[in-house]
């Protein structure tokens, strides 16, 4: 089959690779229909993750149709149209039973290592420490724990909408849920990419009185205003802290969500291999902006060690800081229902649609935010 492979730092190429195969009784094979780029791919592309190997297949947000099921798969049949959660989780361990699928104990093969001393959920299109499972920018994808991770897409939901239920939408939903956004809250979100926009949208759906989104990209900010009902704030033109204080009655936002990523600069761009300095600019600002007793939520991925976080402000203001990899399986069913009811629209995030053969070009657009790119969605 054809697949988008990493070809070394900043290199991508569509190559011929072997078809995936059932490796466990709970596996199934899905023929990809749509597969989306994600900001979490950028440090992989930049070569910042040491155990990624040349030839590894990228991609982890996808929708497709089932073509083969293992003998222990009960919920799915051949020809089902499914969206697959980006986190690979067993559904049976203590963490999964609490709904914390991103913390799954059994989401990676026993022999694989861990990033921070703990095994966690696996992820498609990521290196060995995340299980080493091939990614979704390919014609076919192996889906472990298929009954847990795959969800039938309602007929009313298009592929272009459903593909964002794999990760971006549940991550955004998690941001609002971890922040316990309640009616009347003022919420600030840093980052107007897909996850930031969907966090803002989730906060609105949960009844927030005011949602402010911070970025320097006017086109993304306009998109967030139009589709998520957020108030745009371009940090190039205004003093963000002063503006947020003014818009929240002098208190500061009740909930501040970092949806940028600390391995990135303020625009979400990553350095080259060896450039491991973290830049928690958005987190710093979120901590400084948040009201006393408020909640800061950290969603950015690929965060390493970092210094100069205003810990004193956290303590003095009595902040709650919450974080996590998304627990998609907990929210995908309800998100699909909302998509089917037209309450949650995501297809506008797919600013570019390209065939898989042009995926390398798609990633160049995505990485450079060229041509107004927010997300690129590939089809086989």
């Amino acid at each position: 089959m054809r697949a988008l492979c990493w070809a070394g730092t900043d290199g991508l190429a569509v190559r011929q690779v072997p078809d995936p195969e059932l490796r466990n009784a709970q596996d199934m094979i899905v023929r990809m229909r749509r597969s989306a780029t994600c900001g979490a791919d950028l440090p992989l592309l930049a070569g910042r993750i040491p155990d990624l190997a040349v030839g590894d297949v990228l991609g982890h947000e996808f929708v497709g149709e089932v073509v083969e099921v293992g003998p222990e798969v009960r919920r799915h049949r051949v020809d089902d149209r499914v969206v697959v959660g980006a986190s690979i989780a067993c559904g049976a361990c203590w963490y999964c039973r609490q709904g914390n699928y991103g913390c799954c104990d059994n989401g990676t093969p026993a022999a694989t290592g861990s990033t921070w001393g703990e095994s966690a959920a696996g992820c498609y299109g990521h290196p060995t420490r995340s299980g080493g499972f091939a990614g979704s920018h390919a014609e076919y994808v192996r889906v472990p724990y298929a009954d847990v991770g795959a969800f039938t897409v309602p007929e009313a939901v298009s592929d272009d909408r459903a593909v964002f239920a794999a990760e971006a939408a549940p991550t955004g939903w998690m941001g609002a849920e971890l922040g316990e956004v309640a009616p009347g809250d003022v919420v600030a979100v840093w980052g107007a990419g897909a996850v930031g926009q969907l966090t803002a949208g989730a906060a609105v759906l949960r009844g927030a009185a005011r949602v402010v989104i911070v970025d320097d990209d006017d086109q993304r900010l306009r998109m967030a205003a139009r589709h998520a009902g957020a108030e745009p704030l371009n940090y190039r033109y205004v003093d963000v802290l002063a503006e947020l204080r003014e818009r929240s009655g002098g208190r500061g936002p009740d909930v501040c969500v970092e949806a940028v990523g600390m391995g990135a600069d303020r625009r979400g761009r990553f350095g080259r291999r060896g450039d491991l300095g973290e830049r928690p600019t958005a987190l710093r600002e979120a901590v400084q902006a948040c009201r006393k007793g408020g909640t800061v939520v950290v969603l950015g991925t690929w965060t390493g060690g970092t210094d100069a976080v205003p810990l004193g402000a956290m303590l003095a203001k009595g902040l709650t800081v919450r974080s996590g990899r998304q627990h998609g399986q907990r929210w995908i069913p309800t998100l699909l229902d909302r998509m089917a009811r037209d309450e949650l629209r995501t297809e506008h995030l797919a600013t570019h649609r390209l065939p898989l053969e042009r995926a390398a070009h798609g990633y160049a657009l995505f990485r450079d935010r060229a041509d107004g790119c927010v997300r690129v969605v590939f089809s086989p």
């Binding site: 492979c5 070809a7 190429a13 190559r15 011929q16 690779v17 072997p18 995936p20 195969e21 490796r23 466990n24 009784a25 709970q26 190997a53 040349v54 030839g55 222990e72 067993c90 559904g91 049976a92 361990c93 203590w94 039973r97 104990d105 059994n106 989401g107 990676t108 093969p109 026993a110 022999a111 694989t112 001393g117 095994s119 696996g122 299980g131 080493g132 499972f133 091939a134 192996r142 472990p144 724990y145």
Partner: protein, 148 residues
């Protein structure tokens, strides 16, 4: 051969000791090498996982489940209920003070017994909780003919 321990202070302590052991060899191996960062230099530390299910379900009849059975004679085992209804704390460590175990057990345990025991415990946990040991994708090296 395994033998069941006894209840101590309301906690099921299942200690399983078996035959000759490879412990001395393991301790010696572990003691002389400097492991990777984070490797505990202390030989014989217990490796522990929490497995969903009661001890009698995790070790039915006191028998060692696969793939722990492969380590019969090389490790000792302990099981007790985890607090908060979280299942069973299953612990294993290389046995000490006995002559080297020849053959397959020593080969299996290899140069990093702690890591190996952790891996086996994770497999036991996966089997108990999910019914299968999750397998990685087949690597490109295993699949001749793979392009690039």
């Amino acid at each position: 051969m395994a033998r069941m321990g006894r209840l101590t202070g309301g906690v099921l302590a299942l200690v399983v000791a078996a035959g000759v052991t490879a412990a001395r060899a393991l301790v010696r191996r572990e003691g002389i090498r400097s492991g990777p960062a984070g490797t505990d230099p202390r030989p014989g530390r217990w490796q522990v996982v929490t497995v969903g299910g009661r001890p009698e379900e995790v070790l039915p009849g006191g028998r060692w489940p696969e793939p722990l059975r492969r380590l019969d004679g090389a490790v000792e085992l302990s099981a007790r209920p985890a607090p908060g209804g979280r299942g069973t704390e299953l612990a294993a460590r290389p046995l000490g003070g006995e002559p080297e175990l020849p053959g397959i057990a020593a080969h299996l345990v290899g140069e990093e017994p702690g890591r190996f025991v952790r891996q086996v415990l994770r497999e036991v946990k996966q089997l108990a909780e999910t019914g299968e040991v999750l397998r990685a994708d087949r690597s490109r090296l295993d699949r001749p003919g793979t392009a690039g």
